[in-house]
Amino acid sequence: MSLTDVSAGYGDRVALEHVTVSVARGSLLAVVGPNGAGKSTLLKLMAGLVEPWSGRVEILGGPPGREARRVAYVPQAELVDWGFPVTVEDVVMMGRFPRLGPVRRPGREDRRAVVEALAQVDMDHHLGTQIGRLSGGQRRRVFLARALAAEPDLFLLDEPVTGIDPTTQELLMDLLEAQARRNRTVVATTHDLAAAAQRFEQVLAINRTVVAYGPAGMLLDADVLAKAYGGHLLVLPGGAAILDDAHHHDDAAPGERHFHDRDAH
């Protein structure tokens, strides 16, 4: 997967400029950067959801979208209507829809794949629950299960571990690690620098353009952090750093609907 001198944005607002990155198969990559840095846009470029203004994007050996069935994208939790009348099982089954195509109904094998994916995230006892009744961590688990059920070669996850309990975070990271070991590529945006440094293999720090790209350990370098986070960062003597970057989703595309925990039941 590679991006060559890519720029992109919404309307006349630039989100990313001159981004050049190549990601090897089987990578476990965290994309970090402050709010508005273009993390979500980068993920959407890879998913073929945003057209680059200029530059070239190549995903799984072709232009974005050509190998779409081998890609699983999980949006930020704010973009999901949690009051929607679907159960946990329904949501995970959607991961199987692209391979089914029109007309065909999900069969026994699809149902087995759904239960298996839910078992992996420890949610198989919630098959019939409407998604709005789940906790934040459970919701993330269900969406990861949907990605797993699609059996993709590329996982694109927008803030998969933001605002969830440590147990769920560990569980999700273990699963993603296992997928990377099976030579599937995992790219996740995150605000959680500790998770990025400890649980991912590589880190891509962006702030409108690539600031740093390398092994996850580089996040322990104060210079890299300072470049990525600028004024949001306070570096203390002795090497400790304080980061003022509370999560709020960035790069909302025009026309995107956001759902902020409205009363679903």
């Binding site: 309307g11 959407k44 998913a47 073929g48 959801l49 979208g65 779409a68 069935r69 890609v71 699983a72 994208y73 999980v74 949006p75 973009l79 999901v80 209507d81 929607f84 009348p85 679907v86 159960t87 329904d90 949501v91 959607m94 991961g95 829809f97 692209p98 089914l100 029109p102 007309v103 409407q130 949907r146 699609a150 993709p152 694109l156 026309g255 609907r257 039941h265």
Partner: protein
């Protein structure tokens, strides 16, 4: 019993019953997606935009359905384009488009001299005026819409629930969007003669909204919506026959009453919610002990 069987002796009533039942089903099936997408306003806009098409067809001596279909589908597709590409807010664009096209219809309408009862039946609906040919056209068109949804329900559901995830995995979300708007337009055309331009949005929205209060699963929601749509169409038609009142309005009133009942008494309605909260509070109190 006679009250129910006696009207069936008249072919006009039988046609009206078949037509309203079909309209009830088609509207509920398409309306389920309309409600979940939150685009009721678009449905209303497309319906109003059909009016100039009807008037032009009347002036040219074409079948009125054809005029309505061209105008409604054209508007639906331009709404799709505006939504995706224009720099102004979607509801603003639709508001402008919808009032403008309807005004154009009224303008043309006011230039026609003489007998225009046909056109009035498109504004307010007159299901009793549906002739044998109208009925065939309606059944074919409505059947086509339902069949299309039957083929693509999974893709439409995924694209409605999570357009980004669906598009990334290869579902043609943009093309589905245009197809869906076309289905909404055709549904409205099918319903025009039964309920009329002004009330058709209720047929689209109310049964699905009622079902949303009663179901937490998509397939069941659509099923309940279809049952509400058909039963209110049949009951409304009988009521309008017995009391000699406007059929379209009566059907919509029956739907509205069903919605109100579900809102107050349903499990997710006002009373149900209170019961759930009370149960939850009791449960929490017991757990605390």
């Amino acid at each position: 019993m006679d009250l129910i069987l006696e009207p069936l002796g008249s072919p006009i009533i039988v046609r009206a019953l078949l037509a309203s039942a079909m309209v009830g089903i088609v509207c509920a099936v398409v309306g389920t997606y309309v409600v979940l997408r939150g685009i009721a306003f678009i449905g209303d806009a497309i319906a109003h935009a059909g009016f100039p098409g009807v008037v032009v067809a009347f002036m040219l001596g074409w079948p009125l359905y054809v005029g309505a279909a061209i105008a409604a589908v054209g508007t639906a597709l331009s709404i799709g384009v505006v939504t995706r590409r224009a720099g102004i807010r979607q509801d603003t664009a639709i508001g402008v488009l919808f009032a403008g096209t309807f005004a154009f219809g009224v303008f043309l309408f006011s230039t026609i001299q003489g007998y225009v009862a046909d056109l009035f039946s498109f504004l307010f609906g007159n299901v009793l005026a549906i002739g044998p040919q109208d009925l065939v056209a309606l059944l074919v068109l409505g059947g086509g819409v339902v069949l299309t949804v039957a083929i693509l329900w999974k893709e439409l559901l995924y694209a409605t629930f999570d357009p980004l995830g669906a598009a990334a995995s290869g579902i043609p979300v943009e093309r589905l969007e245009y197809l869906f708007l076309t289905l909404v337009a055709l549904t409205i055309v099918v319903s025009l003669q039964a309920v009329g331009i002004i009330l058709v949005v209720a047929m689209l929205v109310t049964p699905a909204a009622t079902a949303q209060l009663l179901a937490v699963r998509f397939t069941r929601l659509m099923l309940i919506a279809a049952m509400v749509g058909v039963s209110s169409a049949v009951v409304g038609l009988y009521l309008s026959y017995w009391f000699d009142v406007a059929s379209g309005a009566t059907i919509v009133l029956v739907q509205t009453i069903l919605f109100a009942v579900a809102l107050v008494a349903g499990p997710r309605g006002l009373l149900g919610r209170r019961a759930t909260r009370a149960a939850a509070a009791t449960g929490a109190a017991e757990a605390a002990r």
